[in-house]
């Protein structure tokens, strides 16, 4: 009697195939409201950026001095002709907002592409080879960390001139530190895994080990850092543009829009609120997404 019960339990245990990592991930994804929300918002902003010409009611650069500073539609004096109102040069705010998503995303993605590449190469190299290589790279990282980020970025832009390209390059070459730090420790962890030793023993070359064994296993953490750094880059660009050392007008950068509108701060708060909230929502969504990726794909790297 007892016997039969035991075997059935045993059978059901062994017979049931364990879920694949992907199935696990999908299950976690389905549970994760924050990630879903973040993803949704980001996709909406993405769509906005891609279909900007279709969505925007006006040319974002089209000035009309005769219809300056029109209030948004929810204010008494607003009209549906300009749902978000117009700016100081009579440009349609909604259209600028829509096109602004392009700038924000371009900044976010390109910066992370540059900084991620630099940081990952440095971090993985340091983590994999250790020893002296690690010492040199750690020193580099320490140097980078001790440089005041905002100040250096401002100095570079101030000297080389403000343009989208320079801002991206400046941020790209400054924001690699977190990539390097995280990739370094992640690689160190993986480096000590026995499957790396196994691959060596099986005659795999170092590049092959890096590509096949190290990289796929640090990828999750890379994605997490990349999302968070993307948010960071967008915020920094906004701050720099706010200080007047960001992208060049008349680009409809949200940060620049806040900067241009900040003179109306106390009287026409909506002009600051709209682009400000757009930055906030985008960064918020990206952060949710990053947290989500961490929870879903790499729950082990919670801190």
């Amino acid at each position: 009697m007892e016997d039969t019960k035991m075997t059935t339990i045993a059978d059901s245990l062994e017979g049931q195939p364990r879920p694949t990592p992907r199935q696990n991930m999908i299950a976690r994804f389905k549970m994760h409201r924050g990630f879903q929300f973040g993803l949704f918002v980001l996709l909406v902003i993405f769509a906005m950026a891609i279909f900007a010409p279709l969505l925007a009611p006006y040319d974002p650069y089209l000035q009309d001095l005769s219809s300056r500073l029109i209030d948004p539609v929810w204010n008494e004096k607003g009209t549906w002709a300009h749902p978000f109102g117009t700016d100081g040069l009579g440009r349609d705010y909604l259209s600028r907002m829509i096109y602004g998503s392009r700038i924000a995303l371009i900044i976010g993605f390109s910066t992370v592409l540059i900084s991620g590449t630099i940081g990952t190469i440095l971090g993985v190299t340091a983590g994999y080879f250790g020893g002296r290589v690690d010492m040199v790279i750690s020193f580099l990282i320490l140097n980078r960390l001790s440089l005041p980020l905002v100040l250096i970025a401002l100095a570079v832009v101030a000297s080389l001139g403000n343009s989208l390209f320079i801002v991206i390059m400046a941020l790209g070459f400054l924001l690699w530190d977190r990539f390097a730090v995280v990739m370094r420790s992640a690689t160190m962890q993986i480096r000590n895994m026995e499957y790396i030793a196994a691959a060596q023993v099986l005659g795999a070359s170092t590049p092959r080990i890096l590509a096949k064994d190290i990289f796929p296993n640090v990828l999750n953490q890379l994605v997490v850092v990349a999302t968070l750094e993307m948010a960071h880059a967008i915020l920094l660009e906004a701050s720099m543009s706010f200080l007047g050392l960001g992208v060049q007008p008349p680009l409809p950068s949200w940060g620049l829009m806040v900067s241009e509108a900040s003179k109306f701060m106390f009287f026409k708060a909506w002009m600051v609120t709209i682009p400000g909230s757009a930055i906030f929502i985008l960064v918020f969504a990206i952060n949710l997404l990053g947290d989500g990726v961490r929870d879903i794909a790499a729950p082990e790297s919670r801190n």
């Binding site: 007892e2 016997d3 019960k5 035991m6 339990i9 045993a10 245990l13 062994e14 017979g15 195939p17 364990r18 879920p19 694949t20 990592p21 696990n24 010492m135 750690s138 020193f139 895994m193 026995e194 499957y195 030793a197 196994a198 691959a199 060596q200 023993v201 099986l202 005659g203 795999a204 070359s205 092959r208 096949k212 064994d213 796929p216 296993n217 990828l219």
Partner: protein
């Protein structure tokens, strides 16, 4: 012990449910057991059988996710599950105490040993500081710790594992508890240390008249100390009775299966290998580590291997035994050139590996392969079994199609179904993973196969299967096997010859028989003496087993 004594602890029909998404509905179901004074009750069972959960439920340490759904835990006449939190807390540490498995992490690294013991007095008794200090010193002396005065002021990280476990025991005994729960207290320790702790516990049992609930998965330990035994499987008790009955006359098939899986001191009959050619020669290998703690940390020098030499013949299995830190792993990592030895020769089939350049080495790597201890970290979780199995052959220039075909065959050899190729490591159990590791090593058709503690992480039943598989493969492929273990029984079962290492040196070598029956070195003798349950003659049963493939 006498049946008439009133039990200190009796667990009645305890069930603890697991929240949805777990691997089963109950962590334990309908568990009943009793612990009596001056008695050691051993709970034995394989990993995940519910041993820890039962003991945690008693101490009120269950994680929030797990809640007792039925049953009673009666201690001194009161049901612990009904007691208010505060009352229960005043029992813990006072009337009942617990020792944990991991001595390395069970003590708070931030406070001195003395401080952590004194806490108990502060909480449960009113004592002056001097009194408390004296009691701490007494306790430390009682558990045979050297220099109690100095030790009291030490931090946990300054102590060895065995010393920490003694501190844990001292802590548990502080207030003379009626019930002592020990959850695998010796699993993480070396045999010699384990023997000392076990004898300490036996000594305390009589001295303090406490009842001890001792959890383990090692039948040797059971044989060594148990008065009565409870066998658990998948959350159920399948058998219980006196130690003698359960060990020598088990009734339940599962118990029989477990006992028959326990490796025997007397392994296979000695084989004649004198005429086989020598495949592997290690000559005077030396390896010293110089560690530096980061950019400017202190440097430390460890002589891990101090000149080891040996030969292994084709078809032979050489066992390397020794306690933790004796240099076993370092030695074999030098053999396969994962570490660069400081000096020495490694000759495999007339090629001196130590003299090869990096480039030449890669071509020769296929001759020597290794299986690691931890089946969980030895497989890249991001690659399918198929990719893992063809990795080696591809590196050595085998065409892809052929490599895939061979991978499927290999899976058959290690008794897994070929459709496992598409799956990821996470979908396999520990034993199955170890089989995959073996298949991966075999894929490049090595001449020498090294197994570094390849079965230590596995349950006995699985351990036995893997050992059998290794022996079969060795014979089938004419492999040379270097088998590293800290478990003398395992070594005896599979090896032809044995090397004993201590502090980086080989202190004894010889055939299994010679080493086990007539050890010459004091250290070997000590090791053998420390083997738990060495007096237990393991009965033989007919059992059918073999886990279903994949």
């Amino acid at each position: 012990m006498t049946q008439s004594t009133q039990p200190i602890l009796s667990i009645e029909n305890l069930s603890i449910s697991i929240p949805k998404g777990g691997d089963r509905a109950y962590a334990v179901e309908g568990v009943s057991l009793e612990v009596r004074p001056q008695e050691i009750l051993c709970v034995i069972g394989e990993s995940g059988s519910g041993k820890s959960v039962t003991s945690f439920a008693t101490m009120g340490l269950l994680p929030k996710a797990l809640q007792p759904s039925a049953g009673k835990i009666i201690f001194e006449g009161q049901n612990l599950l009904d007691l208010p939190e505060r009352k229960r807390k005043s029992l813990c540490g006072d009337q009942m105490a617990m020792i944990f498995q991991e001595p390395m992490t069970a003590l708070n690294p931030c406070y001195t040993v003395g401080n952590q013991i004194e806490e108990i007095f502060k909480k449960h008794r009113k004592m002056s500081g001097a009194e408390r200090k004296q009691r701490v010193l007494d306790l430390l002396t009682e558990v045979h710790l050297p220099e109690p005065e100095h030790l009291r002021k030490s931090y946990p990280h300054q102590l060895s594992g065995g010393q920490r476990q003694r501190v844990m025991i001292a802590m548990a005994l502080a207030l003379d508890p009626k019930l002592l729960i020990a959850d695998e207290p010796t699993t993480a320790l070396d045999v010699t240390t384990q023997a000392q702790i076990l004898s300490l516990l036996k000594e305390l049992k009589t001295k303090h008249s406490a009842g001890i609930l001792f959890i383990t998965h090692d039948f040797g330990v059971v044989a060594e100390i148990a008065d009565r035994v409870v066998v658990m499987k998948n959350g159920h008790i399948v058998e219980h009775g006196s130690a003698d009955d359960v060990l020598n006359r088990p009734r339940h098939a599962y118990t029989k299966m477990l006992i028959s899986a326990v490796p025997r001191q007397t392994g296979a009959p000695p084989r004649d290998l004198e005429d086989s050619p020598v495949t592997l020669t290690a000559g005077n290998i030396v390896k010293t580590f110089h560690t530096s703690g980061g950019l400017f940390g202190k440097t430390r020098t460890v002589q891990a291997v101090k000149g080891a030499s040996f030969e292994v013949r084709r078809g032979e299995t050489l066992g390397i035994v020794g306690e933790s830190g004796s240099g076993k792993t370092t030695l074999v990592r030098c053999l396969i050139k994962l570490l660069e030895p400081d000096s020495g020769k490694i000759v495999i089939n007339d090629v001196d590996f130590a003299a090869l350049s990096h480039q030449e080495l890669r071509a020769h790597r296929k001759d020597i392969q290794i299986i690691f201890q931890d089946p969980y970290s030895a497989l890249n979780p991001r690659r399918t079994i198929g990719e893992l199995l063809i990795e080696g052959p591809l590196n050595f220039g085998v065409p892809r199609a052929e490599a895939v075909k061979r991978a499927a065959e290999l899976l058959k050899i290690v008794q897994l179904s070929p459709d496992c190729l598409e799956r990821y490591p996470a979908q396999f159990s520990g034993g199955q993973r170890q089989r995959i590791c073996i298949a991966r090593a075999l894929a490049v058709e090595p001449k020498v196969l090294i197994a570094d503690e390849a079965v230590s992480a596995l349950d006995v039943s699985v351990q036995k299967e893997v050992l059998n598989l290794l022996a079969d493969i060795r014979d089938e492929f004419g492999l040379t096997l270097v088998f590293i273990t800290h478990d003398l029984r395992v070594a005896a079962q599979i090896c032809d010859n044995i090397i004993v290492m201590k502090d980086g040196e080989i202190v004894e070598r010889g055939t299994v028989d010679a080493v086990f029956n007539a050890p010459t070195h004091a250290y070997t003798q000590q090791l053998l003496a420390a083997e738990p349950g060495k007096d237990w003659k393991i009965p033989d049963f007919e059992t059918a087993n073999g886990s279903p493939p994949c």
